[in-house]
Each structure stands twice: as C-alpha cells, then as structure tokens.
Amino acid sequence: MSRAHTRTAPTIPLATILAWIAFALVMLVTLFPVYWVLRTALSDHKEIYVQTAVLWPVGFTLDNFKRVLGMFTAEQSVAMGGTATGINFWLYLRNSIIVSTFLVAGQTFFSAMSAYAFARLRFPGRDQLFFLYLTAMMIPGVVTLIPNFILIRDLKWLDTFQGIMAPGFLMTPFTVFFLRQFFLGINHELEEAATLDGASIPMIFWRVALPLSIPALSTLAILQFIATWNDYLWPFLVGKNEAVRVLTVALAIFQSQTPQGAPDWGGLMAGTALSLVPTLVIFLVFGRRAVNAIQFTGFR
C-alpha cells in the first residue's frame, strides 16, 4: 500500500496534465473546423481569398448571410462573387423541415404501434416476423437503393415530397427494434390494471403505453430527425427539383456551380452555418439526453 503510494504520488499530476493537454488538443481539432465555417461566413468576400491565414473574420460583415438569405438583388450578389440565382435558402429550409418533420412523425408513430404489438401482444407469426425485421437491419442501403428509386419513378413520385419520405415513413427496422426493446423494459402493471378496468387494446396503447414512452419516443425522434436532416443521396436522387430540394442537396448543388472560377466560399460557408442551426438548437436543448441516447443507439 505504502509502496504504491510513494510510486504513484509524483506521477499522477504529470499524467493528469498530459491527459488534459490531450483533451484540449482533441477539443481544438474537433471544434476548429466548425469555427472556421463561421469565420469564413463572417468575412468580406474578397478578403477571404487574400487573408487566408488570419484566425478571425477579416473585414467583418454579415453580407454573406444576407446574400444567402436573398436580401440582395441578383446584380449585387454577382458583384459579391456569388451566382445570380443565389441560394434559395428559405425554400430549402422549408423543404428540409417538411421532409424531416413529417417523415419522423410517421416513422415514430407507426414504428411505435408495431413495436407495441411485438412487445406486448400475442399473435401467430409474431416472432418470425420480428426476426425478418431484424434481418432487414443487416441489409445495407445500397441493395434497396436502386429498386426503391425505380419504384418511386414508376409511381411518378420523383420530385415530390412523398417520394422523398416514402421509404422511411411507415418504419425502419431500427426504429421498430429500438421501441420494442423499450416497451419490453417498461412496467406491465399499469397496462394490466387498465385491462382489468375493461380498457380495449387500442385504448391502453393510446392512453397508457404511449404517454409512458414519451421520453423514449422523443429521444428516437430527435435522432431520426437529425439523420433525416443530414441525408443526402436519397433526396438527391428523387428530389433535385427546386420545389422539393432539401438543404443538403441544395448545398451540394450550390458548391458544384462555381460562378466566377473559384467556389463562392463566403456564400457556401454562410449557407453551411445556417443549415446547422436546427441541429445545434436541438442539441443544445436536449444536450444530455441526446448524448445518452447516442450512446444507446450504437445499434444503428
């Protein structure tokens, strides 16, 4: 005991100092790129290309944001190194909100219904069907991507919101699995009491099980909202049209149009910064719960 004490006493501070230096480095590397988005977005559009090594915004201005938000005329924005069409930010923001909100609402609700049945109700074929769902969790997106695209095309749903939302609207194997695990874990007693009182199964689901699972449902909804918000390839394939174009697709298209030789980094970074606002707000509001939920969902 005393040997261990004399041996470790001088080394602990050193190890701690080293660990905190390492932490600080990790934090710096993690946060700096995000800071650089803001720094670029707040810089003057000409200075960006000249003062490339200055750590703070050069020629501090909100013009990039204003331009992206459509507060300048086409001529003005071309003069600032942007495109005449600019980026129709409000439209794409609206589209992203529509797609993510409705998709996640449907997905969460219908997944909860079936998860409840899988967890609580007895019916022939239950375990086999659930096993099939689990198997589908193993199938990578690339296998279903092309057939799903063809299906949406055949339905004439290309460039529509329902086309973008359809594949995930009724379920994903993961959400059903997640909620089934949750329903298995909560106490039966309230539901049994309701049964004895003569409540029907839909009534119990609606009045007892769902209210009890609001924390789990909202956690899942947050994670799925962020995942949908971030999705790129699917909305790019089925929803390029302006009317339904979501933010990720818009940013990618905006980047591929290099109006005057060099990419319009000021505008791009302003658009990027704005597109992150919803994610960051959700994250700040639900911070601790979101972190804990992410730990839990490694299953994805």
Binding site: P33, P147, L233, L237, W265, T279, G298
Partner: protein, 298 residues
C-alpha cells in the same frame, strides 16, 4: 364451455388488434425493404437500362463482374480506405474513451466530441474541402508557415484517399469514443481494484482487463464502422467525385455511376449484390473470430 370460449375469443381479438397495429409497418417493410431486396437480386440477372424492357441474361453480369478490372480497382481503393480509416479511428476513439473514463465524465466534453457526427456528411465534406484547398485552404497556410511545402491533399492521386479517410476519422472518432466510453462504464471497478492489489500496472490492466471485457462493445463498434466505411459515398460525391483519375472511385461510387450516370441498372445491381455478399462475409468472420456475444465477464 363458456369459460373455455371466452379466453379463445379474447386471444383472437388480441391477434386481430396486433395485426392491425403491425399492418402499417408491415406495408412499409414489404414495399421498401423486402420486395426491393428481392427485386434488386432479380434485376442483377437482367441487362435493364431504363429505356428498353429488361432482358434476362442469366449470370452474364456476374461473369462480367469477375473479369471487370475497374471493379477490382474500386474494391482495392475501398479496402485501402477502410484499412486506413478503421484502425486509426478505433485506436484514437479507444484512447479518448479511456481518458474520459479516467479524468472526466463531463457531458459537455462528450457533447463536443459527438458534434462532428451530428453534422451532415455534405457539410463535413464542404468544410474540409475549404480547409484543405490547395491554394487558399487554412491548413496549407499552417503547413507553409511551418516551413513545409504546400500539399495538394484532395487534388493528388496519392493523397486523396488518405485525406478522405482523415475527414471521416474527424467525423467519427468522437462518436466511436462515446460508444466505447459507454462500454467502459459497464466494467466493474472492483476488478481494477483487485488487480491493483495484486500489483498489476496500468498497461497490464489495460490489456488484461479493459480490452477483454470491452470486447463485445468493441466488436459491435468494429462491425458497424466497417460496414459503414465500405459504403462511403457522400464525402466523395462532394470532394473528389471518384478522382483524381480514379484514385477515390470506391465501390459505392462505381455503383452510382453505373446506375445513375450510365443507367445500366442490371450491372449496377449486380455490383451492389456483390458488395452485400462481401459485407455479410466480413461481418460473419468478425462475429466468429471475436466471439462477439460473450464477454469474458461471464
């Protein structure tokens, strides 16, 4: 008789409700998961190009795949990416997780660590495209400030793939660390205390206790990150589009080109079936080899 009929009626009613509850998700499952999987497999035996009706061609696509040098190249590039990405990312994440476990359980630190993972791939790619710009990127200003030569990063055939791996390590290391950290919390502290009393040092404890007991979580993390890495697409779509030349033309990009640039749906699905088989095989080997389901704690 009535006492017998009542429970049977109740059971039947329960089953009816259950099917009604499952029905929406079942429709979603059949239409967008089950049927497309089968349809994808069937399409791989045709020469469908979206214009003319599909013609059954037997295993011709698969024969062609075996002799396809571009596919082999795509596989090689993808494997190169995975082999750079996974070991560095996992080691880094493990280091961060152990440090957090020992020195800080702060939610703020965990929140910051997970932040890059919350950003869209598209955004991450854009940010790094700008930071790594060969002439104006900030990183090159630092490199030149330190007296080194300007680096082309995404613009050179040699550096493009390692750079993309680095970008994805930046996005995923913190998230992986959070998962491993959660795994570390499940290891009983008494085991470390007992080992310390027996005179074990930090290194012995790490390799003798931490790693073996973390194995289920570690295997899980490895399986999911490897599967994810094989499907790298978004970052490449923004930064290199498969180039320079074909240095970053990974399998997923190759599939995308065949399906949505050349519209060769038959051959594109053949490649995706092949990718699926590869992924299943890797997962199976990993599960087997690491004996994922049992922790040494049992």
């Amino acid at each position: 008789m009535t006492t017998h009929r009542q429970p049977r009626l109740a059971a039947r009613r329960e089953a009816l409700y259950a099917w009604a509850f499952v029905a929406p998700s079942l429709i979603g499952f059949l239409v967008f998961f089950a049927v497309p999987s089968v349809r994808g497999l069937l399409m791989s035996f045709t020469n469908w190009d979206l214009l003319r009706p599909a013609k059954f061609v037997g295993v011709a696509n698969y024969v062609r795949l075996l002799g396809d040098a571009d596919f082999r190249h795509a596989l090689k590039v993808t494997a190169y990416y995975v082999l750079m990405n996974i070991p560095i990312q996992t080691t880094l994440a493990l280091g961060i997780a152990v440090m957090m476990d020992k020195f800080s359980k702060s939610t703020i630190i965990r929140g910051i660590l997970v932040l890059p993972w919350l950003l869209p791939n598209i955004v991450v790619a854009l940010i790094w495209l700008w930071l790594l710009d060969p002439t104006m990127g900030f990183l090159n200003q630092i490199i030149m400030g330190l007296g080194f030569q300007r680096q082309p990063f995404l613009g050179s055939t040699d550096q493009a793939m390692p750079t993309i791996a680095a970008i994805n390590i930046w996005r995923h290391a913190g998230y992986t660390a959070i998962l491993l950290y959660a795994g570390l919390q499940t290891i009983p502290k008494e085991i470390y205390e007992a080992a310390a009393i027996d005179g074990a040092n930090e290194r012995q404890m790490f390799f003798g206790i931490t790693i073996p007991l973390l194995r289920p979580v570690l295997v899980f993390v490895l399986v999911t990150t490897i599967i994810g890495s094989f499907q790298i697409f978004d970052t490449i779509a923004i930064t290199t589009k498969g180039g320079p030349v074909d240095a970053t033309r990974v399998v997923y990009w190759y599939i995308y080109e065949y399906a949505f640039v050349r519209f060769k749906m038959g051959y594109a699905t053949t490649i995706s079936v092949a990718l699926f088989v590869i992924l299943i095989t890797i997962t199976f080997i990993q599960m087997r080899y690491f004996n994922a389901n049992s922790s040494d704690l049992d």
